[in-house]
Assembly symmetry: C2
Homo-oligomer: 357 residues x 2
């Protein structure tokens, strides 16, 4: 890989964007870049990573071929959405996904954004960037609409069988994620997702994690175990859970919302006067849709690595990808990793002392 020949205009402040991943293809990603650059907090520079012969014509189309804030890093291969993570990394070393993460590793870019294969991105991020000191496994963190604004939920799929220590790290990483996005003064409230609020409820993972979280109490603002009812009611700002439960919850909530939307639309069409009612409520529906819109916070960072990797939905459209690029920029600006690292170290010391006692 000859970076120098390939990268012409890349500078500090640059975000690597995997242009080939995602269901909607590179044309959507190029459009996303044009949208992202219009934001006040847009990255200084974007490196589109993918097949030159596909990307240059698209950039020409949008009159971006000579844009001083965009360049292209050629990567000849594409990892498919259904490829097995480890095999895809082994066989497609010159893929847009792998190259995007490598640009971060080499310090050529400060974050990588991809809407490609989640498993491959997680594996690639972990293999290339390694976890930060004191962290064993990364976590995929996502932002959700809730009773009092928005909340952070993690892990949503990186680590389906975590150890208690991993969940403690997630509580810390999630707190920093929340702070960097919402810039609140107050320490965000952290809840541990369980099947009841009593400490005796839930399995061993929950009970041990609860003990540890109580010990490190001053590093985060831990409120205790919460149950499913409390996920969306605004009781907490951070929902900590294993990657299996989080992934199921993320996808099923989207599914439930889609079902309700479909039901409402079908019901409206059943009677002519309901169309008028729907028109009168258009503003209300739009406002709710805006609150719930997954595009708005589509960037799910892979936390706990030595570098910023942001996952966007496989089905992300241009707005969602643009939002992920902006989220990546905010991550770089807040240097989340640096702050979290100190807290992780402190927490590990406390937990190790507690285990020995």
């Amino acid at each position: 890989m000859d970076e120098k020949a390939n990268i012409s205009k890349t500078a500090i402040g640059s975000i690597a964007v995997d242009a080939m991943g995602g269901d909607l293809g590179p044309a959507e990603v190029v459009e996303a870049v044009t949208i992202a650059l219009k934001f006040a907090n847009a990255p200084k520079h974007i490196t589109l990573v993918g097949q030159e012969d596909v990307l240059f014509p698209l950039l020409e189309q949008h009159k971006l071929a000579n844009h001083k804030r965009i360049d292209v890093f050629n990567a000849s291969e594409v990892i498919g959405m259904d490829e097995k993570p480890i095999q895809s990394l082994k066989h497609k070393k010159d893929s847009s996904l792998v190259r995007s993460v490598e640009l971060v590793k080499l310090g050529q870019c400060e974050a990588a954004v991809s809407c490609g294969n989640t498993g491959s991105l997680m594996a690639c991020g972990t293999l290339k960037l390694r976890t930060m000191p004191g962290v064993e496994r990364p976590a995929l963190s996502s932002i959700w609409p809730g009773g009092s604004g928005h909340f952070v939920m993690l892990d949503v799929g990186a680590n389906p069988t975590p150890k208690p220590e991993h969940l403690v790290h997630n509580a810390i990483l999630g707190s920093w994620h929340h702070k960097s996005i919402f810039e609140t003064e107050k320490m965000p409230k952290v809840g541990l997702l369980s099947i009841g609020t009593e400490e005796s409820k839930g399995h061993e993972l929950i009970q041990t994690t609860n003990e540890y979280l109580k010990q490190i109490g001053d590093i985060i603002n831990y409120v205790g175990p919460i149950e499913g009812f409390q996920v969306f009611n605004g009781d907490v700002d951070i929902v900590v859970c294993d990657g299996f439960t989080g992934n199921v919850l993320l996808k099923s909530s989207e599914g439930l919302y889609k079902m309700l939307k479909k039901d409402v639309t079908a019901e409206i069409k059943r009677r002519p006067w309901r169309i008028l009612g729907a028109l009168l409520l258009a503003g209300a529906f739009k406002s709710i849709k805006g609150k719930l819109n997954p595009d708005k916070y589509s960037g799910a960072p892979l936390l706990g690595l030595n570098g910023n990797v942001i996952k966007s939905h496989g089905s992300a459209n241009k707005h969602a990808i643009a939002a992920a690029i902006i989220a990546a920029t905010e991550f770089v600006r807040h240097d989340l990793a640096l702050h979290a690292r100190e807290d992780i170290e402190k927490a590990n010391e406390i937990i190790n002392a507690y285990k020995k006692s």
Copy 2:
């Protein structure tokens, strides 16, 4: 316990109803009984289990004191919603919850319905009735509104750390639950809840369970692993999962629905013309609310026991409790346990042979 003195009119076809459990108290349960008895498929007889001196005045109020299809079984104690399961059973042997299950064990009633402490009911059901031959752990099964009518999800909280065999039993028990409620000819489609549809996804529990379910293929209609998106989209009729994930999913889905309802109401109130819009859409909202109404299918049976135990929500109102009583009657009518038992035996034989191979 002198049953004969206590039970006067109890007969086959009788349902024991724990009159003291539930957040709304015995008055709500007595009203539920009056509602249930109006249904065509009402039980022949209902035994209200609880404190006589509380229940008789309530029955008097409703002119039910001498109703030939209702009687009272006196139980002096009440288990609180927050009591620890095992301790509550040990210290409150004459509680309405324990006595209700005992009436089933003694053959005096054919099913017990309670909206009391879930943990105590599960523990009491398991201890008193024991699991059916070949089943190690019971599962709490519940009915949900979905893309194509309704689907069954289990386990929603009885067994948070199941073995693969337990999930196989749940697939069978859930299939029979679906058949007994919806009386469909076709074998209901069973999906195993995972974090992706690829067989390599999910943790060890999922992978081993998937192997077993493929082996017993002709006993149930297994379609393979499903992901969160498919829970509500009508792809499957039975969603099999561990009790931790199921419980979180059940409660968080209710939470999400409540949040959306609150958001819609708040948005409607923000502009005067939206009130008119809402009036025009009243029928549509009512229809959707009806579909989603948890009262309609509030009875969640504890499957896998030698006897019928039906859990209703702690916050269940009279309609929800009445629905649970009707569900109990349907269970008795279909003799679900008998059919499931044969399938469980067959499945265990196949799995044991497969393990040895």
